[in-house]
């Protein structure tokens, strides 16, 4: 079987002044290309740490993480940007560049990859249409609503056609209407072939998806179900 992502006995411990915090303990699982995987768990169960490890934002204390058969924590720091270009990220707090317009925020990822001006113009226009933000392309993030900001963040995550999109609580700050909107968009992207890893604690979202669910509790995988439901 071909795996795109493989976690092999991954542990992560943060050293605090009082006592060590075990964010993840011996976590192992695999993700195949084109899968839609939801990572669920209470706050502090290790969801965000798991995504940070996958993005090489943190190093594991032990174990290994493979992306397309490459141990990502063996990649030298000056080459990490190449790995990150294969991954699109959607953050709960959007992390849009405040001094750039919606268009510029989305175009930025293509610019760093060296796409031509014409490619950028064409692709950004298409993605803006996909996330229904064409008429907001010249607005700055502070002029957008929460839902619009999250759609802009998703557009930025998918513009360069990454192999996988990591979405960390993408609906955390949204009302139910906008939540449905964002989840529909992620499902659509998955149907177009992009692997999605969604970290959330939104019960309604998980139950409506009927996709694979990995449940974390105190840093450990307690369930991994093909068509899982929210059960914490």
């Amino acid at each position: 079987m071909i795996f795109m992502i493989s976690f092999q006995k991954v542990s992560k411990t943060f050293q605090s002044r009082l006592k060590p915090i075990h964010a993840l303990e011996e976590v192992s699982f695999e993700v195949q290309p084109g899968e839609f995987v939801s990572i669920v768990g209470r706050s502090g169960s290790g969801k965000t740490t798991l995504l940070k490890l996958l993005l090489a934002e943190e190093d594991p204390s032990s174990g290994a993480i493979f992306f397309n058969d490459q141990d990502i924590h063996q990649i030298k720091s000056d080459k990490l940007h190449k790995l990150r270009r294969e991954i699109g990220v959607v953050f709960q707090d959007y992390k849009l560049f405040p001094s750039k317009t919606t268009y510029e925020n989305i175009a930025y990822v293509m610019e760093v990859m060296g796409a031509s001006d014409r490619e950028i113009k064409n692709d950004v226009a298409k993605v803006l249409e996909l996330v229904q933000l064409t008429d907001r392309k010249d607005s700055f993030p502070e002029e957008l609503s929460g839902g619009e900001r999250q759609r802009a963040a998703i557009a930025r995550a998918l513009i360069h056609r990454p192999q996988v999109i990591l979405a960390d609580e993408p609906t955390g700050n949204l009302d139910p209407y906008h939540t449905r909107d964002i989840i529909k968009l992620l499902v659509k992207l998955n149907e177009m072939g992009t692997t999605i890893i969604l970290a959330t604690h939104n019960q309604e979202v998980i139950n409506s998806l009927e996709k694979r669910v990995i449940t974390l509790e105190e840093g450990k995988v307690i369930r991994d179900e093909k068509k899982g439901r929210f059960a914490i």
Partner: protein, 303 residues
């Protein structure tokens, strides 16, 4: 490919500079202060040097001869003195010339002129005025004269009378130089640190943006580049503003400075050293902007 990336970096730096105008103006203001201080230190150093040189120029020593030496003797004495590396300039003054100068200097002073007439003839001695390169060198010349082959022709050397003045001048100029250098280094360092911190704080504001840029796959240079471009632009603006301020200030203050320090033409000095001053300002402004941005961004890239 490379030039397209460079074009994007420059474009992005320029756009961010315009959009963060409040921060850009604050950075430029601090840089103007820094460059002004560096330029002022440069100009004060030059003014002090001018003062020292003009003070030193006023000091000389005179060798008086017992009788009027022959032309041949004068040439020999001058040749021997010129062999000394400490000697900058020599001037022979004959008895007649000495009398003419004395008469001219004291023309309005009746008592002196009457005394001179009473003495009768020309009581003044012929002499050689010696100018050294530096005030500290007169002692060596005096020591040479004590053992010189023409020592028997010498009636007196006025070094011993002038010695305290010369030594005081020597100590003063050397103190001014040392204090000037130490003060310049301290002030320049303070100015550079203030400017560096301003740029660092400006970039600290973008800490989260830098982190996001890394996470969406931007290379270190693509992140660092626009900040460095902003540093260059701020530096260039600061240089332009400082240069205009100094040009105007020097133009209007030059006549006033000339009253306090006769012979010093600040305006002519400033404009004849136009390129040096501009290069100094560019090095201070642009160099500071680039290095400060590079170091400040580097801190946020290490993860």
């Amino acid at each position: 490919m490379m030039s397209a990336a460079l074009k994007r970096i420059i474009k992005s730096g320029w756009r961010d500079f315009k959009r963060n105008n409040g921060l850009s103006v604050a950075t430029i203001f601090i840089m103007v202060m820094t460059i002004s201080l560096v330029t002022s230190l440069f100009l004060s150093q030059k003014t002090f040097n001018f003062l020292i040189v003009s003070l030193e120029d006023k000091v000389d020593m005179a060798v008086y001869f017992t009788e009027e030496p022959t032309n041949e003797e004068i040439l020999t004495i001058q040749a021997e003195l010129f062999h000394l590396p400490e000697v900058k300039k020599l001037e022979y003054i004959s008895k007649e010339e000495a009398l003419a100068k004395f008469t001219e200097r004291h023309a309005g002073e009746e008592v002196i002129m009457e005394s001179l007439a009473e003495v009768g003839g020309n009581p003044l001695l012929s002499s050689i005025n010696i100018k050294a390169w530096e005030a500290s060198q007169y002692a060596a010349i005096s020591a040479f004269l004590d053992t010189a082959s023409f020592n028997d022709l010498i009636a007196k050397v006025d070094y011993s009378q002038k010695k305290p003045v010369i030594e005081r001048l020597f100590s003063l100029t050397s103190n001014i130089n040392t204090t000037g250098i130490v003060l310049s280094i301290i002030l320049a360092l303070v100015a550079v640190l203030i400017a560096f911190n301003t740029v660092r704080i400006a970039i600290y504001n973008s800490k989260e943006e830098i982190e996001t840029m890394r996470l969406v796959g931007a290379s270190d240079w693509f992140i660092r580049g626009p900040f460095m471009v902003q540093g260059i632009i701020s530096g260039l603006w600061a240089v332009l503003i400082t240069f205009l301020i100094f040009s105007a200030a020097v133009y209007f203050l030059s006549p006033k400075v000339a009253i306090i320090v006769p012979g010093l033409n600040l305006s002519s000095f400033f404009f004849s050293n136009f390129l040096v001053i501009l290069l100094l300002q560019l090095a201070a402004g642009v160099g500071l902007g680039v290095i400060a941005s590079w170091l400040a961004v580097r801190k946020h890239l290490i993860i």
